[in-house]
Symmetry: C2
Subunit: 339 residues, 2 copies
DNA sequence: TTGTAGGCGTTATCAG
DNA sequence: CTGATAACGCCTACAA
């Protein structure tokens, strides 16, 4: 089935392409008669505008790009859902790319999206990313960019995050109030802003409660942070630091690793050791013991990021000035069985 | 920063657009000198071809579409990863859409992708889908289509699945061999092929082992199937059918729901009741007790589906005949603590 | 070796 | 109210 074009409709009706185009776009200066004829024929022939041609003319693709570190990830999956929902409302399509936490991939993928001439880009940075020239490339192309979750504070664009520092502070304060005294932290790798902020929140909470910060109680999750990190570090803690009575993990996945290790070797949670996560993955509510954690609104983060991006795309189209926003969405403590 | 075009390079160099184009595409009939000059300038000006124009000329978008029922889903996330990996190899981008298990959305999304003129479409059908005209629309547009996981047997296109019936048969046979006698099945909704096949595998295994099939031991998961289905049906089973000693669930998520209920009310797994899942979600290896299940190779399913799709896209481009494939990938039993 | 011309399908301007 | 014309940026016969 060949695709119908304006030209075909025009010749079949013995009128000009221009008129057909106008009729279909409901221009006022076409007679009701011709308009109707055009519309009818277009419907019969299943006419749909050739998006390639439209893109070329209008210089927009009605498509945005999304780069995330990992797909198999409860939090990011929820973010994507939020983005897709918002995109659908505005008749936009979303191209999704995965950086795999690699800076090099991230860079390449930005180029791909820019070459594709997407109308805007949404990104959460990889854990390796410590310089931001590639982000500036996006801006220099005048392509709207919104960062979320793992952001670069110094890059001049809109951002959607939670207040990681405060959330971590709340979590650790909660543990302290519960009576835990030796609280370890399994932190994320050194670069991502959210990992830094969660660490700082942890530290601040200790200090504000007159507990000396002890760097030997902080363990770095080298990998992603991943389940394995939690498992391996839990082992270390149990053997080398029996005095520890609680662990604040940078992520639920890490926390689940801790729980698994403790379950395997028969360490009682929370009586011997308490575990606190971060993100509120679905999994956390079904493991035993159920994990106390911070609820991080992934879906909302996705929606808000997309919504800001679309606003910026529209402003740009009207040559209106764009004011970058930094949005912080709220979090809350979910108390369950592990603390 | 305005985008560089062939024209700009041409005028700056005082040569024709044609020559520039040829030089950049490494045509043999351009002098080494001019070629070099063009390439150098192109690099300086950061020339990249305008994909809108290329699309229009070549009539291909170097983009494929993917429609899946749900994103927040371990299995589908893995499928997507496989697809993205394969797409990246071939310099293709992927537009992802979520049908939310709704037939109407699925239909609309097909139209979106077709209008976008993607070069091919990958799909797993929604649970509601029971007629396939919309899929035929794809084929009538001459757009390659590959179905995976939840497929329509009657539609004439390539398919990638596992052998759901055999996998279910294996699972239930395993339970029987383990000595379980009253085995219930929490099945998926009535339409999806994989839900039907898993049910049939369950039934066949019973029959082949001289256990009378009892329809009152089969419970339908109305929702997705979802965690809640498992939880609610487990409650029913425990109260109304205390004779049941094992449950074969259509999905890990359902199985996890069962486990959660049993844990809450103090029913011992597997001694009082055994639980067997399907899919091998990550979660299943970290809950307590760890879930026995069927390993379903999501990543491979994604890779294979994409790979077939790209092959068909290429064949079509060369006007070569396409032979549709139906691939079945292998599964295996993962024995853990719940059985 | 280089360049001219036409076209991909649509939209916008401007004249009739 | 209608249509001719040009342009978006690139590609490719075909000429020169």
């Amino acid at each position: 089935m060949k695709d119908t074009t304006l030209k075909e409709i025009a010749t079949k009706l013995g009128i000009s392409i221009t008129t057909v185009s106008k009729a279909l776009k409901n221009y006022p200066d076409v007679s009701a008669k011709t308009k109707q004829a055009v519309i009818d024929l277009a419907q019969n022939l299943h006419y749909t505008p050739n998006s390639f041609a439209v893109n070329l003319r209008t210089k927009e693709s009605k498509t945005i790009g999304l780069i995330i570190p990992t797909l198999v990830h409860d939090f990011f999956s929820n973010v994507i859902q939020g983005i897709l929902e918002e995109a659908e409302k505005r008749d936009y399509l979303v191209i999704i790319l995965q950086s795999n936490e690699k800076f090099e991939f991230e860079k390449k993928q930005i180029d791909l999206l820019l070459n594709k001439r997407v109308d805007g880009i949404l990104m959460s940075l990889s854990n390796e990313t410590d310089e931001f020239e590639h982000l500036k490339t996006i801006l220099s192309h005048n392509t709207p960019l919104v960062l979320f979750d793992k952001i670069a504070k110094l890059v001049n664009c809109s951002k959607v995050t939670i207040n990681d520092r405060k959330a971590a502070y709340d979590a650790v304060s909660y543990l302290i109030k519960k009576g835990y005294k030796k609280i370890a932290h399994f932190r994320g790798s050194y670069l991502p802003q959210n990992s830094i902020d969660r660490f700082l929140g942890y530290k601040k909470a200790l200090e504000d409660n007159n507990i000396a910060y002890d760097s030997s109680l902080v363990f770095v999750c080298e990998n992603n942070p991943d389940f394995e990190d939690g498992y391996a570090n839990a082992k270390k803690v149990v053997n080398e630091h029996p005095e520890i009575d609680a662990i604040f993990a940078v992520t639920d996945l890490v926390a689940v690793g801790i729980i698994k290790y403790c379950n395997e070797v028969g360490i009682a949670i929370p009586t011997q050791i308490a575990v606190f996560g971060f993100s509120n993955w679905f999994m956390s509510s079904v493991i035993s013991p159920k994990l106390s954690t911070i609820d991080q609104p992934g879906f909302e983060i996705g929606r808000k990021s997309a919504s800001i991006l679309f606003d910026e795309i529209n402003l740009k189209k009207n040559n209106s000035p764009v004011i970058f926003q930094s949005i912080e969405l709220g979090t809350s403590i979910i108390e369950r069985e592990s603390t």
